[in-house]
Amino acid sequence: MSITHLLFWFLTVLALGSALMVIFSKNPVHSILWLIATFFAISGHYILLNAQFLAIVNIIVYAGAIMVLFLFVVMLMNLNSASIPLKNKWLGFAGVISGGSLLLVLTAALKDTEIMRNDVMMKTGDIGLIHNLGLVLFKDYVLPFEISSVLFLSAMVGAVVIGKKD
């Protein structure tokens, strides 16, 4: 058992445990904090896979920016467990069935793929380093990259239009 293996298992337990806590917490603010912990654990996995850029961007964008917005909304609406209305019993049932089907489809799709046959290779490969990633993005995939930036721009313009008074 090397340090890398120990770290892998630690991060895995942390990620799954805090993901479960996101669902089971009664308090929405606690859920958000557990979700942040999940993102950190996943970023740790990225670092083990030698994808430092992805790891840090995951922290900046998801744990840093998006979760702050979640917290904003929850804090301002002052949600707490008492104010959540009782849900319809059938709604829960439908949720379980649709979630289960999604899980089934995902497992079926991943079962025979190449990825599942290989062990995860840790601390190897350098495609995740920022230099190589930048070269790939701006040489091989420059068109999709630019098009997705236009998508972001249109989302920003939309937000500004909605946020404008009168």
């Binding site: 900046i60 744990a63 904003f72 804090m75």
Partner: protein, 343 residues
Amino acid sequence: MDWEFILEKLLLITVVVTVSLVVAMYATYIERKFAGFIQDRYGPDRAGPFGILQPLADGLKLFFKEEVIPSHSNKLLFVLGPCLAMLTAMMTSAVIPWSSPIEIGGRTVSLQIADINIGILYVFGVVSMGVYGMMIGGWASNNKFSLMAALRGASQAISYELAMGLSLIAVLMLSGSLSLRVITEQQVTGLWNIVYQPLGFLIFFVCALAECNRAPFDLPEAESELNFGYHQEYSSMKLGFFLFAEYINMFISCALIATLYLGGYDMPFVNEANLSGSSAAIVGAVALFSKTFFLILVFMWIRWTLPRFRYDQLMNLGWKSLIPLALANMLITGAVILWTMKG
């Protein structure tokens, strides 16, 4: 794994943390003395000669105060808030190169805790985490004023992070690397980045003021509107942690500005290559620390000179002035780099 390496890093972490704490402690004293100087009064002068024991006395007082946890607060998060504030304040110091490497007994010891190739992005990640201490603390206090202050602080921080990032991109385009060590070494051999990036330096400086919640950007603790701000319900050392984290933030961000724009550990008019390893390291550390202290003094000077902004003025400055300016700065830098590469 080699044990000497781990020992060396542990020692370095201890030294950096201790130095940051001591500097932050004495920054409170210097600030009060400086405020006294500006307002034509003495400042603290009772504890010890010239009042230099004042920070110790303040710390002791905070330790001995009664600790109050409001009965309707969320206790776990109430304690977590100041801890997070302190943790995120200390974490940035890991990537700052404090001086050039020294040699001890045939080993080259780097005076930087971690030279990661995404150094600047790491700083950004930690800065974006910084709002959580404030937000969680403010929310868990279960007090309207604290909550409003925390939300103000968080929106201020995320607004100014944008302009900060955009002004940094220009530096990255110049240096072609995200590692703070590489950026510093380029400035040691060439000119300081402030020569190429005067506007970027100004934008970054203003944003750093806003990120540290320093006046004129101290909206989260505007006493006249919010009683005391996000740490209103805190007492004893938990309050001390919040206040202390602010001074650590100030020290670390001044060190970061010095590293990015003012040459880091480069002593002007001295050719480091002529010095031996350890004396170059000492000269470098002295250079970095004097630049940092100069910037801290400028921070304080601004605080005691300018009045506080109104909230809408703050948002207008961030979104309508600094971000377009930073974008223009980035475009011009890119164009000039492209132009010189062709010529």
